[in-house]
């Protein structure tokens, strides 16, 4: 066993060194594709987290016409009070809305505002975020109602954008993973080709199949491993210095989980690449 370990390690590293250019190409391709996979996964997780945070505070705002009558306002208010899907509502007078707008908007814009032009509003929290839509549908066309806004729509748009980005990342990563596998396959093939004399002598003197194969399998495995190591570094660096999600810090466990996936995929393509090469080119 010890003899074999020494032999396998020596063979593996001399193969890696002999084909170092190919090895570097394979490792880098693995690294780039896995960085994309890692980023896509992080993006997905931060998107999920972001929408969860937004949804917790989801509010529906029913803006009344600035000219809405007291009766119209009272009507909406009583309906809201009787609607079971609305947890609570707060009425903002024109003055309160004006004060808020002055605070939020830059002076250049808020200068033109007047209290009379401001719509009074109901700030409501639905029981569950999904109910924001029902509230919107119920009140949009009622007399005196100017507009009903729910951030739901924005969340959807953001999620949609992230999903598209994610699909693009994953598609790119898929193509690159495939080429990484082919590159690994090719380096192993070259290693086998460079060693064909050794292999034929080994077969002749009765070396077992696994004895012959294992150095090539570990070679692919190591290429995958190195590639994922670089990718893990890149993903972690990206996460630390350039979060894709400014306000929403991802947890350490999300990062660890992503890195675990990157590691597993890297090792897997290394092993698959070498397994194919061995099946096709190492006739033992």
């Amino acid at each position: 066993m010890r003899v074999y370990l020494r032999y396998a390690v020596r063979e593996t590293f001399s193969n890696l060194w002999r084909n170092r250019m190919m090895t570097i190409a394979a490792v880098l391709t693995v690294a780039v594709s896995l960085s994309l996979v890692g980023s896509a996964l992080l993006l997905k997780q931060s998107a999920a987290q972001a929408s969860a945070q937004w949804q917790q505070g989801t509010r529906v705002t029913i803006w009344m016409q600035p000219t809405a009558t007291t009766a119209e306002i009272a009507n909406v208010q009583s309906q809201l009070a009787n609607l079971p899907i609305v947890k609570r509502c707060e009425f903002f007078t024109q003055q309160q809305d004006y004060n808020e707008a002055i605070k939020i908007l830059p002076p250049s814009e808020s200068k033109v505002l007047t209290v009379a032009a401001m719509p009074p509003s109901f700030r409501c929290v639905p029981t569950v975020p999904a109910n924001a839509f029902t509230v919107e549908a119920t009140f949009s066309n009622q007399p005196g109602v100017y507009q009903v806004t729910a951030p739901e729509q924005q969340i959807r748009e953001m999620n949609h954008a992230i999903r598209v980005l994610q699909i693009v990342f994953l598609a790119l990563a898929g193509v690159l993973l495939l080429s990484a596998t082919v590159l690994i396959l090719n380096t192993i093939r070259m290693a086998i080709f460079a060693r064909r004399r050794e292999v034929s002598v080994m077969k002749l003197v009765g070396a077992t199949n696994w004895f012959i194969r294992i150095p090539y399998i570990t070679e692919g495995f190591i290429q995958g491993l190195l590639g994922s190591a670089v990718a893990i570094g890149a993903v972690t660096a990206l996460h630390t210095w350039y979060p894709l999600h400014n306000e929403f810090q991802l947890s350490m466990s999300a990062l660890l989980g992503t890195n675990a996936v990157v590691l597993i995929v890297g090792v897997l393509i290394g092993s698959v690449g070498s397994a194919i090469a061995i099946r096709r080119f190492l006739d033992v």
């Binding site: 010890r2 032999y7 002598v201 003197v205």
Partner: protein
């Protein structure tokens, strides 16, 4: 030790190579396999190594039908069979010592075994002082002696040689033959395919002659040419 029972072999492309061969080779025998080019000598040896399987008949080695062996056992079969070829098949970037040691290392022999066996076998083939030379620095005869050392270092029961003197001048052929005889005297069964008429005639060993895949002669103290021997 070796038994062919009605063995026939036709290659996948339809070339018939051996037809209905039956013979017994005892432990410790020395057998020459002669015949024109393409008569099936190499095929005979490849069947013994289970590099090919017969289409018909059985081949027994040490009492076991080698056709029945599961694929994973084949390497263990080959550990009992040493092989020497016309083209030496040495590894050019390994020294003489390393070439011989390689045969032991790749079947998992411990380093202590390698360090005791290799010098011993190099002594036997008379190449102790060339231990650290590369094959490219040796003469053809010396290279073939390294190949014989590699084939024999694991003390196989059977030694197969496919035209081992084919690339050598008479003097070197002579030394290889002396070596094979010496190995044979240790009880190893030797089967040697050859075209070398003079050599076979001089040795007076068992001769099996093939002709287009058929065994046309099996003579105990034979000579190369069929006209001089007693036919079956």
């Amino acid at each position: 030790m070796i038994r062919f029972e009605n063995v026939s072999k036709t290659y996948k492309n339809g070339t018939p190579a051996l037809k209905d061969i039956s013979l017994d080779i005892e432990k410790g025998e020395f057998v020459f396999l002669v015949g024109a080019s393409g008569s099936g000598k190499t095929t005979f040896l490849r069947l013994l190594l289970r590099e090919e399987l017969p289409d018909q008949g059985r081949i027994l080695e040490a009492g076991r039908d080698i056709g029945e062996l599961p694929k994973w056992r084949v390497p263990y079969l080959r550990r009992n069979i040493g092989c020497v070829f016309q083209d030496f098949r040495l590894l050019p970037n390994k020294t003489v010592f390393e070439n011989v040691a390689f045969a032991l290392e790749v079947i998992g022999r411990p380093r202590t075994t390698v360090e005791s066996q290799v010098p011993q076998i190099l002594e036997l083939v008379g190449l102790t002082d060339k231990s650290n030379n590369l094959p490219g620095e040796l003469s053809g005869g010396e290279q073939q002696r390294v190949a014989v050392a590699r084939a024999f270092v694991n003390r196989p029961l059977i030694l197969l040689a496919d035209e081992p003197t084919g690339n050598l001048d008479p003097a070197n052929s002579e030394s290889i033959m002396a070596l094979l005889e010496r190995i044979n005297r240790t009880g190893t069964t030797v089967v040697m395919a050859t075209h070398d008429k003079a050599l076979v005639d001089r040795m007076r060993r068992r001769v099996v002659e093939l002709d287009r895949g058929e065994m046309i002669r099996d003579q105990v103290r034979g000579v190369y040419g069929i006209d001089e021997g007693v036919t079956l």
